[in-house]
């Protein structure tokens, strides 16, 4: 899949048209400017996708599945950055072939050649050894990273000729749109078995705990070690081995599965959730052993999960700063996907362990003459940790603290009495309290002895609270915003609205969910 360098004026014109459309639709605020330009580009030059994707020196990774593909793509992007690569991505919410065409077209010049800026300096990660992308400075180590839903998969795969295909899972919840599970699986199989145009059939990265997904593996190749990119086609299977967190299952009859090989009812001695787990059928067909597996995991609630991953490239242990078993699966998918592209283990570790850095942990935002730090604190341990970190240097700080009581925060705000706000006493240069339970937090701070000597402002509305907090500060000073989960989403939304922060769709995060959530939140911030 070497860059062709071939000039194709038609592709170039299509790309220009796409870029114009992207600008126009962004101005018109139509879905973040993704699908429309892709449509235009595809109309002008039908072969655009294949033409442009073929120029990506690092090849293409495609991520698909019902749940977790966006988070998995996000994690993969983080890992690629650590490895010194520049992922070219389709923005979330437009995970169709058009969105992918759009993502590529905006990088193409009028001659139809991809013009990619050099890779940003790796954030502490060691460069990805063995990747041809690294040697191609002109393209800045660009690697295509495209997520696609089940329906678009059949069109995308033949067009972009991915070196790696990651399949997270196949649940029933989208079947109204796409038909039976088996139909989807059959479409996948057809797309994957189509003869490769180039000389580089890809690696399938599959969730072995999902029987349908595992059945996509070429026969006899189950549990095979990582084949090098550009080598023979193969499967790299991932799954959770630590059976302590499963239960005999599945819990609900609706999740029951039949053996993809013989049709007999599958039994689940260990079920993690849904139909994901360790299964076998009465005729001896069993879940294959994963090559990339979570051999040990220790959940720490919202703080994340301590993970030990066993991979063909070695073992790695780290705290995944995201909660839940579903994020363990996402991390496994990303780790396996990254290893299949030849990224070193150190980059996998750094990308995953630092994953929430972009959301919630001391995120820095320039707001006019001020700097605002966003700190997530949603339980006593997190709050104490945040306060300890903030006041470690012994200097007074300007604080904006917000407490919400929506489902994602926990409706019970009792926990604030278990957090040691007493540490803040005498440490706040100014203090603004906000959120749906602002009054309660203000009272907690009063009992912690914080209010004495510090002017404490109560403003439940986050927008006005931010304005007030900034108004109290001399120019150039820093505001520390300590926020519960939905208050964090709300404040980010306010900052994005004012152009201080990129909105989620620009970053390719979980857009469809978040944007509607945030707009609900912002309205929820107003008093009834």
């Amino acid at each position: 899949m070497a860059p062709s360098g071939r000039r194709d004026l038609r592709v170039g014109m299509a790309s220009l048209a796409a870029r114009a459309a992207a600008t126009a639709s962004r101005v018109l605020k139509r879905g973040g400017g993704t699908a429309l330009p892709g449509l235009i580009a595809e109309r002008v030059a039908p072969g655009l996708l294949a033409h442009l994707a073929g120029q990506l020196p690092g090849g293409v990774v495609v991520v698909t599945g019902t749940n977790g593909k966006t988070t998995t793509s996000h994690m993969l992007a983080a890992i690629f950055h650590r490895a010194g690569l520049s992922p070219v991505r389709n923005a979330s919410g437009s995970n169709l072939s058009r969105g992918i065409a759009a993502a590529l077209a905006v990088h193409a010049d009028w001659t139809g050649r991809l013009r990619l800026r050099p890779a940003a300096p790796p954030g502490g990660g060691s460069p990805g050894a063995g990747l041809s992308a690294q040697r191609d400075a002109r393209h800045g180590g660009a690697v295509g990273l495209f997520e696609t839903d089940e329906a678009a998969f059949a069109r995308v795969v033949p067009a972009v000729q991915p070196g790696v295909v990651v399949v997270t899972n196949l649940f029933r919840d989208q079947l109204d749109r796409y038909g039976e599970v088996d139909t989807v699986a059959a479409i996948w199989r057809t797309a994957l078995s189509a003869p490769a145009r180039g000389s580089t059939p890809g690696t399938l990265v599959l969730n072995v705990d999902d029987p349908t997904v595992a059945s996509l593996a070429p026969p006899g190749d189950e549990g095979a070690p990582v084949p090098p990119v550009g080598g023979t086609a193969g499967a790299l299977l991932f799954g959770i081995e630590d059976a302590r967190w499963g239960h005999p299952g599945p819990e609900h009859a609706a999740d029951a599965k039949v053996c993809p090989r013989c049709g007999a009812r599958l039994e689940y001695p260990v079920c993690f959730y849904g139909h994901l787990g360790h299964y076998h059928c009465p005729n001896g067909h069993r879940r294959p052993a994963p090559a990339v597996s979570a051999t040990r995991l220790e959940p720490h609630g919202f703080d994340g999960t301590d993970l030990t991953l066993t991979t063909p490239a070695g073992e790695l242990a780290f705290r995944l700063p995201l909660p839940g078993l579903y994020n363990v699966y996402n991390a496994l998918a990303a780790a396996a996907g990254a290893l299949a592209t030849g990224v070193p283990l150190s980059a996998v570790r750094e990308g995953l362990a630092g994953f929430t850095a972009a959301f919630g942990r001391l995120e820095r935002v320039q707001v006019g003459a001020h700097v605002v730090y966003l700190v997530l604190a949603k339980n006593p341990v997190g709050m104490n940790e945040a306060l300890r970190t903030l006041f470690a240097d012994g200097r007074p700080k300007h604080l904006l603290m917000a407490l919400n009581d929506l489902d994602a925060d926990g409706r019970d705000v009792s926990w604030i009495w278990d957090a040691d706000f007493e540490h803040v006493a005498g440490q706040a240069a100014s203090l603004t309290v906000s959120g749906r339970r602002a009054e309660e937090l203000a009272m907690r701070l009063k009992y912690a002895g914080v209010a004495g000597g510090t002017a404490l402002e109560i403003e439940p509305d986050l927008r006005r609270a931010l304005d007030r907090a900034l108004a109290m500060m001399p120019a150039g000073e820093t505001l520390y915003a300590v926020l519960t989960y939905t208050a964090m989403l709300g404040l980010r939304h306010v900052l994005a609205e004012r152009g201080h922060l990129m909105a989620y769709w620009d970053e390719g995060a979980d857009v469809s969910g978040l944007n509607s959530q945030v707009s609900r939140l912002t309205s929820g911030m107003e008093r009834p």
């Binding site: 019970d412 009792s414 009495w417 602002a438 009054e439 309660e440 009992y447 109560i458």
Partner: protein, 297 residues
């Protein structure tokens, strides 16, 4: 002036920030120049009611509560029963509230005996029935009697049999100056606010009066509209959140009861409770809609 608060199993029971109740009592004393000493009463330690002015017990997870059940009956039950009749002010929240009752009937297996301080029992309806979770606003039923209550001596307490519905907390007491007059205005608010999270349903017998009537939320059993219980000077409730900081009238009521056992006629100095009432009112406003009362047939 000094008061001693006994905290039962404070190291084991701190499920829903019971610490907030202790902080509230401590600070409200400190702001008035009263020294409140918090004495932990853990496993292996006896309860000495004569040395206490106030007793608090919080909630724990089932396992924690079983851990201390044996110790409770062996070392503490008798003293607590005596203290109740003696008029020691007590507050029991959540799991502590259930344990103060006659028994707890789990979803499976035989009933677990309680301390029998309160004429009530609790039944767990099984894992298929939803827990009672959410913000609660109740009308404090005994609030009206509280302000006129003037408990000052040990002879002044009615027996459990005399505390039927409508009975006054104290009927035979001498009449010292009304509590809080000129200090905290007499019961400006009659609502109590908090958060509940319990699987068990609690039913009161004739010997216990409800602490309040549910305006929104579930209360004792999601059925009869009652919340909590009052027997003598002892209060039980499902409300945490924490309870006492955002219900300063209840906090001060308990402190006044404690104070007057040693210093008859004593009153509490007024405090600026703007922050407390603001938090209280915000909850009443947001969650206190009457339509939200949950009662089955």
């Amino acid at each position: 002036m000094k008061l001693v608060l006994g905290h039962l199993y404070g190291d084991l029971l701190n499920l829903y920030a019971d610490r907030g109740n202790i902080i509230a009592l401590q600070q409200r004393c400190a702001w008035r120049g009263v020294d409140l000493e918090v004495r932990q009463i853990g496993i292996g330690e006896a309860v000495r009611p004569d040395a206490l002015d106030l007793l608090f017990m919080g909630g724990g997870q089932d396992g924690d509560q079983r851990l201390m059940a044996d110790d409770l009956f062996r070392l503490k039950a008798d003293a607590l029963r005596g203290a109740l009749v003696d008029g020691l002010p007590m507050l029991a929240v959540c799991g502590g509230y259930q344990l103060f009752g006659e028994y707890y009937q789990p979803a499976e297996g035989p009933p677990l005996p309680g301390l029998g301080l309160f004429d009530l029992h609790t039944v767990h309806p099984g894992p298929r029935v939803r827990r009672c979770i959410g913000n609660v606003v109740v009308e404090w039923l005994t609030a009206g009697t509280v302000d006129q209550s003037h408990v000052s001596s040990r002879e002044s307490h009615v027996s459990a049999a005399e505390t039927g519905p409508g009975a006054r907390l104290v009927t035979r007491a001498p009449a010292p100056a009304p509590l809080g007059r000129g200090a905290t205005p007499p019961v400006r608010r009659t609502t109590l606010v908090g958060f509940e999270n319990h699987g068990g349903r609690t039913y009161l017998g004739p010997g216990a009066r409800p602490l309040g009537r549910v305006i929104s939320g579930h209360g004792n059993n999601a059925r009869d509209g009652t919340e909590g219980a009052v027997v003598h000077q002892a209060y039980g409730t499902y409300l945490h959140g924490s309870l006492l900081p955002k219900n300063p009238h209840l906090a001060d009521h308990l402190l006044t009861l404690a104070l007057r056992r040693r210093h008859p006629g004593a009153t509490l100095a007024p405090l600026d409770d703007t922050a407390e009432w603001r938090a209280h009112e915000a909850i009443v406003k947001r969650y206190g809609r009457r339509g939200a009362v949950r009662r089955a047939a």
